[in-house]
């Protein structure tokens, strides 16, 4: 198992994508199929962006096994008031300033759920959110 742990800082747009790129690179190095690597990369990137847009800070942990990748992104942030609403495409609580930059289109959580095989979300208002995603390395049929 390979463990990658990366710090994420809220509002640090200039480093957005670095953590997900690192996970992606390792998957390429161990020879995970391209489309699977892409799903992990997109899921990781969306989670990374959520922390940057909404939270103060967070940690992304990637546990890479031969057959699967487990991504955990835990943040210290506002939490999600209504998860089912947040899971709807196009729903976003991102401020206008962020949306004008092309972020916060309300596709983050639905995208993560679509890309992962197992998806789990825990949230406490005023404390933070923890998202757990598992993606299996075998190609989807």
């Amino acid at each position: 198992m390979i463990t990658l742990e990366m710090q994420l800082d809220g509002a640090s747009f200039e480093t957005a994508g670095e953590a997900s790129s690192r996970v992606k690179k390792v998957l390429q190095q161990i020879g995970v199929p391209g489309d699977v690597t892409r799903r992990v990369a997109i899921a990781a990137y969306e989670a990374e962006m959520n922390v940057i847009i909404h939270a103060r800070r967070g940690i992304m942990t990637a546990l890479i096994y031969p057959d699967r990748t487990e991504l955990t992104v835990a943040d210290e942030g506002p939490g999600i008031a209504d998860i089912s609403l947040a899971m709807q495409e196009g729903y976003s609580t991102a401020p206008d300033s962020v949306r004008e930059m092309g972020f916060g289109a309300g596709m983050g959580l639905p995208n993560m759920a679509r890309c992962s095989d197992e998806f789990d979300i825990e949230t406490v208002i005023g404390e933070g959110t923890k998202i757990r995603m598992t993606i299996y390395h075998e190609k989807r049929p």
């Binding site: 198992m1 390979i2 994508g17 997900s20 790129s21 992606k24 690179k25 390792v26 390429q28 190095q29 161990i30 020879g31 995970v32 391209g34 489309d35 690597t37 892409r38 990369a41 997109i42 990137y45 969306e46 890479i64 031969p66 092309g102 995208n111």
Partner: protein, 458 residues
């Protein structure tokens, strides 16, 4: 290199090394976008499977040790009928007051029976792009496949993006296909007796001739570097425009020479233009993360400024760009005045299979081992090794960066002492140990002796 995929013999490459010119400096290895070069035995060594023939190393080498293999005019003798296929970027090597007609008749003087502008192929591809983007079953953003170096970059570094590549042949292939079919029919000669020569601004196109991307077999016979014939072309330029037979391409196709020309021609609203291979890689990384979904088309070109900045051109890309822009402006008004319009349809080529190109295969190079367990072990070794390296990325070890050296060590093709800083540390430790040992006296020698010895020194 056991179980490593990178080395796949049999690849043709235009980019070559002239060993006796190579001083083993690190300029080329640091610039290579796929980290394909290492210095071994004091000379640059290209890993074939990684090389995408972009020509960055040719541009970079101060000793001109890196060259591009292209065909030469002598090769024309082997064919009955020879056609020059000038890239639009050839026109940018001449000031705008030199008409395209003059340039093409100069090519005729060099021994070509006919000149067929690649810009005409570009006009057709322009139309095909427009039609392709109307489809709803395609992966967006679509990435242009006109630049063979970009296509190979996707194959080796972004295999997950292969489905985004435009599945239409490059303009030069389309042009070649038209000429070969039409001339063999009109002139009644065997298609194999027609020599089709691409006048190329870059080595990537030369490689594409020998090793086609997509099509089963290239329709082009060979490629001749613009820089190779530029001198003769200059001498052959007629003072006034001579009559040029055949269809003349409009500004739409000629504009492809400069970055942005392709999207301007195809009139794509949500397009992104990126040129220079490292910048292209950055944009592709964003596509790989699922960004840029609002973009329909990415015009990606390996050379800064586009084909006019190709490593086998002669004029500075800044001068060439200014000349080309002026030429295009003049052409637009001239075309309107003379009633020259770009092609409106490509029915005659559709049957030639523009849309039926073979899928482009991924050629991933990142993988450390075919066995996932071994690969995972190597990732760990890399990580540990990297922590011990100085992180200066000096290149003195012969690998482009500390990260690349760590990878080479994990692969067993380099060792830690290749790093001059690690080597120096080891020498220091060894020296320290020697001093320590030297200070240890055998029990038979008394301590008093050494003390008095030292006092005597004072």
């Amino acid at each position: 290199m056991t179980g490593v995929s990178p080395y796949m013999p049999g690849y043709f490459h235009s980019v070559r090394l002239t060993a006796h010119h190579c001083k083993g400096c690190v300029n080329c290895i640091k610039r290579c976008p796929t980290e394909a070069i290492r210095i071994r035995g004091g000379k640059a060594q290209i890993t074939e499977a990684r090389c995408i023939d972009c020509g960055e190393c040719i541009r970079r080498c101060p000793n001109h040790a890196k060259t591009a293999y292209t065909d030469c005019l002598d090769d024309l003798a082997r064919y009955k009928y020879n056609v020059a296929l000038p890239a639009p970027s050839l026109y940018a090597q001449f000031p705008p007051h030199t008409p395209v007609n003059c340039i093409t008749s100069a090519l005729n003087k060099l021994g070509f029976d006919e000149v067929f502008e690649v810009a005409q192929g570009a006009e057709i591809v322009t139309l095909a792009i427009r039609d392709y983007l109307k489809r709803s079953d395609i992966k967006r953003p679509v990435i242009s496949s006109a630049c063979p170096a970009v296509v190979r970059l996707v194959q080796v570094k972004f295999p997950e993006l292969i489905e985004h590549l435009l599945p239409i042949d490059a303009p030069v292939e389309v042009a070649a296909r038209i000429v070969r079919t039409e001339r063999s029919r009109e002139l009644g000669i065997d298609p194999d007796e027609i020599g089709l020569w691409f006048i190329t601004p870059c080595p990537a196109k030369m490689t594409a001739v020998r090793q086609p991307l997509g099509s089963e077999k290239s329709n082009i016979t060979g490629a001749i570097a613009i820089s190779k014939i530029y001198g003769e072309l200059l001498k052959a330029l007629p003072s006034s425009a001579e009559q040029c037979s055949g269809r003349r391409a409009s500004w739409v196709g000629v504009g492809w020479a400069v970055a942005g020309g392709e999207t301007t021609a195809a009139q794509i609203d949500h397009s992104l233009i990126v040129h220079e291979i490292h910048s292209v890689a950055e944009v592709l990384e964003q596509v790989a993360l699922g960004k840029l979904k609002h973009i329909d088309y990415i015009e990606a070109l390996a050379c800064a400024s586009g084909c006019i900045g190709g490593p086998l051109t002669v004029e500075s890309r800044f001068v060439a760009e200014q000349w080309m822009k002026k030429r295009l402006k003049d052409m637009r008004s001239e075309d309107t005045a003379k009633g020259i319009v770009a092609r409106q349809g490509y029915d005659e080529v559709a049957e030639l299979g523009v849309n039926e190109r073979r899928a482009i295969e991924p050629r991933p190079i990142m993988r450390l081992d075919d066995d996932i367990f071994k690969a995972m072990y190597k990732v760990e070794v890399m990580d540990k090794t990297l922590g011990k390296l100085p992180g200066l990325d000096c290149g003195s070890c012969g690998s482009p960066s500390c990260k690349a050296l760590a990878e080479d060590i994990a692969q067993g093709t380099a060792s830690e002492t290749d790093c001059i800083f690690r080597l120096r540390e080891k020498v220091r430790d060894l020296a320290q140990e020697m001093v320590d040992i030297a200070q240890k006296l055998p029990p038979s020698l008394g301590k008093d002796n050494s003390k008095t010895g030292r006092e005597d020194d004072k």
